[in-house]
Symmetry: C2
Subunit: 212 residues, 2 copies
């Protein structure tokens, strides 16, 4: 049955085409101004066609949000080469912030838009988010096991770390930073953020002096 194979391939291709166009429009015009009709126009198909490949607009945005996570995991790739546990944890924080600052619209969709969570397919788990958080917990646990840092619960500490870094990213992306911070500090927000991450993580570090 070579015919069915080809048809399935073509279906996959059109789905990918729609998704690519959706990402493009989304990154160009932002969340609120991304309409089904605009996406359809871009690929020269009828708006109705999109509904044959995605249940509704929420499902389409969920697919975009998945692309965002793919990109983020790709961004995290180099971490696997870092052997030192604490260094790896530090870097993950930096890479996370890097990703947020470099892809504000995607970060918004992944971690800020509430709709993205409400539209999880069939109320299943948030796989992408869980995977990302699990990798953070794992890195924290490695530090605890190696007695580099101390914490009662790796999960709680990981959540704390995540919240702090996310807070900076969120304030920046949702434009609360620039309205509040002094003019002379604005160019250094990214630097400040990194220093903050370092400082926070190091405050959990077991003091080597107290060991001796």
């Amino acid at each position: 049955m070579g015919v069915n194979d080809r048809k399935e391939r073509e279906k996959e291709e059109l789905r990918a085409l729609i998704l690519a166009a959706a990402v493009e429009v989304f990154l160009q015009k932002g969340f609120d101004n991304t309409s089904i009709r605009a996406i359809a126009d871009k690929i020269e198909y009828s708006p109705t066609t999109i509904y044959l490949y995605f249940k509704d607009k929420a499902a389409l945005f969920h697919a975009i949000h998945q692309e965002g996570f793919k990109l983020m995991f790709h961004h995290f790739g180099p971490l696997q080469q870092v052997a030192d546990h604490f260094e790896r944890l530090l870097l993950q924080g930096r890479y996370y912030l890097d990703f947020a600052f470099q892809n504000p619209e995607l970060y918004d969709l992944m971690f800020l838009q509430p709709g993205t969570m409400e539209a999880l397919p069939e109320d299943l788990e948030w796989m992408e988010g869980n995977a990302a958080f699990a990798s953070l917990v794992q890195n924290v646990q490695a530090c605890i096991d190696a007695r580099i840092i101390w914490a009662e619960s790796a999960e709680v500490l990981a959540f704390t770390i995540w919240a702090s870094i996310h807070g900076i990213a969120s304030l920046q992306i949702q434009k609360r930073c620039n309205k509040v911070i002094s003019e002379h500090l604005k160019p250094h927000i990214a630097t400040l953020a990194f220093e903050q991450v370092n400082l926070m993580l190091k405050s959990y570090r077991i003091d080597k002096a107290s060991k001796a």
Copy 2:
């Protein structure tokens, strides 16, 4: 001219009526489902009338956001009675999180929705946010001056504190918490958040042992 006075009073009253209805619909139906027509229906006026009192939907939401800040400042009221600088700073963190958890929709509008910032009247300053941040900076500065905590810059530390707490509030309100945190931790998110605030603030405290 008693007539003009009365007219101005009536105009003010209708504006207040529209705003109250807008807040009510907003708190009931959420940001996305608050339509001009729904607000107009509630007060039995034509949708067109609303545009005689508010330039557009963004201006109306800006007014709601102002109401939110009024409520928050009211929430902060008891702080003025707290004489101990460090205790006051701690409490401000708790009250801020309290406010966020108790008024998620308002917090969303005030600190998360990007539209709220883009629609500042005539690109002026973000007065409400600036005032709130200034009060935090002031409390931090008081702690620094009293040599309770150490920091190079009160503003930078205030920003760091704000970002951390906002991060927790943001993850909670935008529903990323419940999807990622273990089942047994969920009932304690608020508690965890408070402990996190305490821990973070205390890590900046000047160690009394090192003084001696």
